[in-house]
């Protein structure tokens, strides 16, 4: 009798692990975070968009070593695989592309939270004409790296916000320098 109970206990434990397993890849914390960063660039929007509007080349973003992708700039088809200078890898999908309004949106399909501590990341990059200058706005929405309650500090909401804010700031400063030729 005790043998049967013990076995049942093992089976139940195994079942509960199996039941949890499917949630891991899609799970996220309860509170989505958002970041908006902007920078003014002393160049017309067309000139900035010529760089930002090419989804297949993210060389203006400092941590990126290499961009490999397919699908050109076609929404829901274009993908890119980023290799970072630290060896990290990120897969992204273009979800919107509007050349007329200088705006594109994409999301991360796959990233290790050790590389970028976020889940369900989606982002929009827009170049806004301001006379002969332009303002680039980069917005992101995402969940923290830890999918459950009580996250460790490196996978908290704060860690996710800091990582994305730092990335956007560095990226926009680098884009400005590249466009302005400094």
């Amino acid at each position: 009798m005790s043998f049967v109970i013990a076995r049942r206990g093992i089976v139940l434990a195994a079942l509960s692990i199996a039941a949890l397993a499917p949630s891991i890849s899609f799970a996220h914390g309860p509170s989505r975070q958002k970041v908006t960063e902007t920078i003014e660039i002393a160049a017309p929007a067309e000139k900035v968009w010529a760089i930002v509007g090419n989804f297949q080349d993210l060389s203006w973003l400092p941590p990126v070593e290499k961009t490999e992708g397919t699908g050109d700039n076609t929404p829901d088809k274009a993908t890119r695989h980023l290799t970072l200078k630290n060896g990290g890898e990120i897969d992204e999908l273009l979800t919107k592309y509007d050349a007329k309004d200088f705006s594109l949106a994409y999301r991360i399909e796959k990233v290790d939270v050790k590389i970028l501590p976020v889940n369900n990341y989606s982002s929009t990059l827009t170049v806004k004409p301001q006379g002969d200058k332009s303002v680039v706005e980069w917005r992101g929405a995402f969940y923290r790296g830890f999918p459950n309650n009580d996250p460790p500090p490196e996978l908290s909401d704060e860690a996710a916000l800091k990582a994305i804010t730092d990335l956007y700031k560095a990226g926009l400063a680098s884009l400005k320098a590249k466009v302005e030729g400094k």
């Binding site: 309860p30 509170s31 958002k34």
Partner: protein, 333 residues
């Protein structure tokens, strides 16, 4: 599956008696001075980023008050009589009980895990709260705290109750199902496959059909509640969050499309996509069915839209990150 009664003294922060006395004393001293205008319909919008609750007068679309809630509030449900609004704080792990007339938080009821989706029983005597982490649904007595727990499945999200109060529907996001919980026994009595990652669940006024917004498959499952089967799957925009019903139409917030998809409830034909703010989430209909209300999470705005012409009527500012996940409208009789 087991119902579990938790010791009451560990749940209630404030003894029930002092609350009753406090309310009586307030009423005696202040009369109706603090009361909101009689008959005014209001929205209770949870702002997850700023950790508060914006109360919007729906006749003027003006924010009337902001109540601090804390704990990253997300879910909200107003009782049928309009007297109470219940707000979940998944990070704070509690349910806030709001007196809608006095516009103040009466008490916090501690809950384990990550309380998110919720619904109030039609008689107001139970609040059903999903714990998104531990596969369970809590039955909460608004005066006493948790009185029962039901095991429902992985990442329970949206919750709705049939108008007769007998059945509770829970979107079981990570199992791609809805669960049917019997309110009397508080046990799961069946489940049904829907689209991928159902989040919001909405039941029509007659209790005949339920609608789930399926985040991963970009569609809505239409469920016949008597037959317990899916009668239609309606394609909508990217990352649907929740469904509202009015004038024979379904209105669906598409988070990644900055739009509300509109479809016909009889033919299931798509009718329109209304452009709204960024990351629309909570959506609800006015009692007369003339107006749809949408919380735009990224742009911190609460919009009203005419249900027939689909024109945007007005926009109200909210706190940061409005979600308004649940039955957020207080309809006064």
């Amino acid at each position: 599956m087991r119902a579990r009664v938790i010791a009451l003294h560990s749940i209630a922060l404030i003894p029930v008696i002092s609350i009753s006395w406090g309310r009586a004393a307030r009423a005696a001293l202040l009369g109706l001075a603090l009361a909101s205008p009689a008959g005014a319909d209001e929205a209770f919008v949870t702002n997850q980023g700023s950790g508060d609750l914006t109360i919007v007068d729906l006749s003027t679309m003006q924010p009337m008050a902001t109540l601090p809630i804390g704990g990253k509030p997300a879910g909200v449900a107003v009782s049928t009589d309009g007297a109470r609004a219940y707000v979940t704080s998944p990070e704070g792990k509690y349910l806030s009980v709001v007196d809608t007339r006095e516009r103040r938080v009466l008490r916090r009821i501690p809950l384990e895990g990550g309380p998110l989706g919720l619904a109030v029983a039609p008689d107001g005597r139970r609040v059903y709260v999903a714990d998104m982490y531990e596969q369970r649904l809590f039955a909460v007595d608004p005066e006493l705290g948790v009185v029962a727990t039901a095991k429902v499945g992985p990442t329970p999200s949206g919750v709705a109750v049939t108008p007769d109060g007998k059945t509770i529907l829970v979107a079981i996001r990570d199992a791609d199902k809805i669960a049917f919980v019997d309110a009397a026994s508080f046990e799961k009595r069946g489940e049904l496959d829907v689209g991928r990652h159902p989040f919001g669940v909405t039941i029509d006024a007659k209790g005949e059909r339920a609608y789930t917004a399926n985040v991963e498959s970009d569609d809505v499952s239409v469920v016949d509640l008597a037959a317990r089967r899916v009668v239609a799957t309606v394609k909508v925009g990217k990352r649907p969050y929740c469904v509202a019903l009015a004038q024979g139409r379904g209105f669906v917030t598409d988070q990644y499309a900055e739009a509300v998809s509109v479809f016909d409830l009889e033919t299931f034909a798509p009718l329109a996509q209304v452009k709204v703010g960024e990351y629309p989430e909570g959506i609800g209909a006015s009692r007369d069915g003339k107006t749809i209300y949408v919380a735009n999470w990224f742009t911190n705005e609460f919009w009203s839209i005419a249900a027939d012409s689909l024109k945007v009527i007005a926009k109200a500012k909210t706190g940061d990150g409005p979600r308004a996940f649940g039955a957020f409208i207080r309809a006064m009789n």
